[in-house]
Symmetry: C2
Subunit: 180 residues, 2 copies
């Protein structure tokens, strides 16, 4: 892996653990094994780095979800897949969702980072809305509402699990979306 990729990966990990204001160029440089000036070479400002990390995360996340209109898989299974992606983040990686973290801190972010964070949620809602719309008993407005509810619940469930130091809190919280 190139130093550039290592920087992005390390930054993602640090933001997901301690937030945007919880890491520094020097910490990333130390973790990667370069000097902080080299991080600035790739990303002139902290906002540049944050925006690239957020965009890469969004892309990776959506790729893992697959196409929302995939006929080979039931919508219910797709919702379970969505939850599974977040479960992996909080249970296995023991970290927040990157954009859940950035979303909480949104008022403290440079514009370009806030913009990418917003896009993450817009695309999540778009994906979930399409999936819910495929369900038999759900109308257009209902799908949109359920999509908002699902994103919110999953993000909140991650906060809950980490704060309570109890991964089962995540399971309890998301059970509603999975079974509805």
């Amino acid at each position: 892996m190139s130093k550039l990729e290592e920087i992005i990966e390390t930054a993602e990990s640090m933001i997901r653990e301690r937030g945007y204001n919880g890491f520094s160029f020097r910490e990333i440089a130390d973790a990667v094994g370069v000097k902080s000036a080299s991080v600035h070479y790739h990303f002139p400002t902290k906002g540049d780095l944050g925006a690239v990390v957020a965009r890469a995360y969004t892309e990776k996340f959506l790729l893992a979800l697959g196409a929302p209109e995939a006929a080979a898989i039931t919508p219910k299974k797709q919702i379970e897949r969505y939850i599974e992606a977040c479960r992996y983040a909080v249970v296995k990686q023991r970290k927040m969702c990157l954009c859940g973290m950035l979303g909480a801190e949104v008022a403290a972010l440079p514009d370009e980072v806030a913009r990418e964070t917003k896009i993450f949620f817009e695309k999540n809602i778009e994906w979930l809305t399409k999936v819910y719309a495929r369900m038999a008993n759900v109308g257009a407005a209902g799908a949109l509402g359920r999509a908002h509810g699902a994103v919110a619940t999953v993000e909140g469930a991650m906060i809950l699990a980490r704060t309570l130091k109890d991964v089962d809190a995540f399971e309890k919280a998301v059970k509603q979306i999975a079974t509805s």
Copy 2:
């Protein structure tokens, strides 16, 4: 209002806007009209301040909710009151829930602040579980699950509304808890 009270109030406001790592003693001092050394007089360390702010917030929040076993009010109305408290925070005050913010950043917090944040969620879940348990069609396990789901959804809904700059996203997201 005493300077001490002003410091606590200002700290709460700043944490809810930009997070624990998003404010400094000097900013609080400037906002209150004292010197940063005077803030240190009341709160020797940042952790001391954070812990007091979190504890005060929890107390205030629970007081606004009232007793969970209040027979004069239906459980459904109590859930609506819970949502209303959070709606006020995000729609009127345009800020995160203090402990939603701290919960996201929990890995970056001093122990004493993380502890108070955890207590906030434990008490929220306790309150909601008691309320849900009063509902006719809900068992003990169901009440606990619904309580976790409600806290998570509400916290996530606040993140969503702020990031999307759309207060209606909060309404869409919490609609599920209100009508279930």
